[in-house]
Amino acid sequence: MISRRDFLQASMAASAIVGGSGFGNWARLAAQQRLTQDQLLEFDTFGNVSLIHVTDIHAQMVPIHFREPSVNIGVGANKGVVPHVTGADFRRLYGIDDGSPSHYALSSGDFTALAEGYGRMGGLDRVATVINSIRADRPDALLLDGGDTWHGSYTCYQTAGQDMVNVMNTLKPDAMTFHWEFTLGSERMTELVEGLPFAALGQNIFDVEWDEPVDLFPPYKFFERGGVKIAVIGQAFPYMPIANPGWMFPEFSFGIRDEHMQEVVDKVRAEGAECVVLLSHNGFDVDKKMATIVTGIDVILSGHTHDALPEPVLAGGTIIVPSGSNGKFVSRVDLDIQQGRMMGFRHKLIPIFSDVISADAEVAAVIEAERAPYKAALSEVIGQTDTLLYRRGNFNGTWDDLICDALLSQRDAEIALSPGVRWGPSVIPGQDITREDIWNVTSMTYPEAYRTEMTGEFLKIVLEDVADNIFNPDPFFQQGGDMVRTGGLGYRIDIAKPQGQRISDMTLLKTGEAIDPGRAYVVAGWASVNEETEGPPIWDVVEAHIKTKGTVSLEPNNSVEIINA
């Protein structure tokens, strides 16, 4: 008799072989210039159920460059374990060869050189090809969208999410959950959700007045696939009104609500669910903790923190599958469900190499139609860059260094603050910077670039508060962003300390003087969650700065000293 745990571990090993063979082969094939679509899509159909997961697309309909982080610090029980392993350490951990396609797709290091060799990734027309291929193997595969889909580009902003809704509908998802979508505002959000031809799920989306579930967002939906009754439960981003402007969607309350999650799982199991899938926008570490608290979930399809791992992580009898961001990856998970139990699984994180996977013509035409009215604005060249522009990483990235420079010069400030969001593709040295590129890292519905005064004491409070949202050792207190980026301000951070004691040695870089707690400093920033923030939209500020510069060239930024990471 084989126990469920044994089976999962056995399956885990089998999955690693599938993954491993795929990854190893890509490296060799690439060396031979023979990376093919068939290789990327190769999958031995398994069991009786297939799940397809896409998440955190951030409105990237066309292929992009996206550099994965080189700094992604784990704390508490998650120190030094995936996804908090980066660069060469990540490659050693998974047996990925340096210079291989997997190196380029999944880890940082030599990004510029590899980007030139392997080209752009993503593109929803390529994603469509992958989905169609999986559906050819398994016509009733479930397609699940983890959210952060209707946000993050010029066209998405101009159409208030309609472009993404139209393109995603052509892919025919079965269910979706949400995060940045709510920043379209309650009214627009409701309008779009009411028109969706698929389920909009969120067990943690409640009415703020009565603290009761909302009809618009049911907690779960049943699907009958391959003779198996599957419950898909949705989990929206838990900290919407804290991390994003709550005044834009005042009717809704969120939270982790793990007790309610357990009630929902128990309910669907009691109603005959043989397989329970959680479509989550919790973030990876929150999902991992939730998997150990809530029993009865077979698979968590994990979004929000933008992690891409070549193998699922096993936690408390649940497999957790994080599928990256910006359209770079599609996860396929095949399950063998027998008598209400997951007997095994097979998984592949499929990297969308846009030069290798062909575009689906029908979806390509829809994307083209959405972009056509904005073509001139999108493609206008604003400047050039000599430096790789990227955002991801727990602290500064070059895109935010550039944005902070723009704020300091255009808004005549001593200190600049840029939010630690994780979205935003990269631009390769030597490339033009177009308006589309600028909007890809700034597009949002609260873009006002404010200019205000803050005391040194208050600046420390801001840094301490944000740092605790990332480095609190309890994942349930982590909001899943990166550290607020600073311009004109240096500091030291001790990751291991509690809130209030992490930040020290704050320095005004212009003069080299220590920040005076009692002095007021002129601070410029953007993406304030407060209502009635005033200022020009950040994209105009950045565009004006780049136009002045002509060619962007950034010095390495060493203004943050990290200890006890």
Partner: protein, 140 residues
């Protein structure tokens, strides 16, 4: 992060909470005294009392909490970081079908919410929940 006076007040409180959670709650002794008063000095153990509160408050001025204590005759709620820590006491009669209650409380800053239930046999049980009040603003 445009600053209003109210924001500054909330932020100041949040920062202060760092010390509070680290083990020096400003009003902890006042809370301990109030709990001792409620229990008559008896030790409160853990047991059939579930206190549900958000990990991070969406709005510190109105934080939803819920207590569920089968077999309780009374449940008292305290917020150990508020100037007045006593929040509410719910009394249940023998005809109450369920011994649960929910309400909203105002939290001045990050702090512990504590529920103490008096059971039918005269014993006491206790449950704690740390609730954080934060500025946020940088969700990925």
């Amino acid at each position: 992060m445009t600053l209003t006076r109210r924001d500054v007040f909330v932020l100041g409180s949040a920062a202060f909470a760092g010390t509070a959670l680290a083990g020096m709650p400003a009003f902890a002794s006042a809370t301990d005294d109030l709990i001792a008063e409620f229990t008559g000095g008896a030790e409160a153990g853990s047991g059939a009392l579930v206190l549900t509160a958000p990990e991070i408050a969406e709005n510190g001025n109105t934080v939803p909490i819920e207590v569920d204590a089968p077999g309780a005759v009374a449940v008292a709620i305290f917020a150990d970081g508020n100037p007045v820590p006593a929040v509410a006491t719910f009394n249940f009669g023998p005809l109450n079908p369920s011994r649960s209650a929910s309400t909203r409380i105002r939290l001045a800053k990050s702090q512990n919410v504590i529920a103490v239930a008096k059971m039918e046999d005269g014993s006491f049980v206790r449950a704690d929940a740390a609730v954080k009040v934060t500025i946020g603003g940088c969700g990925g």
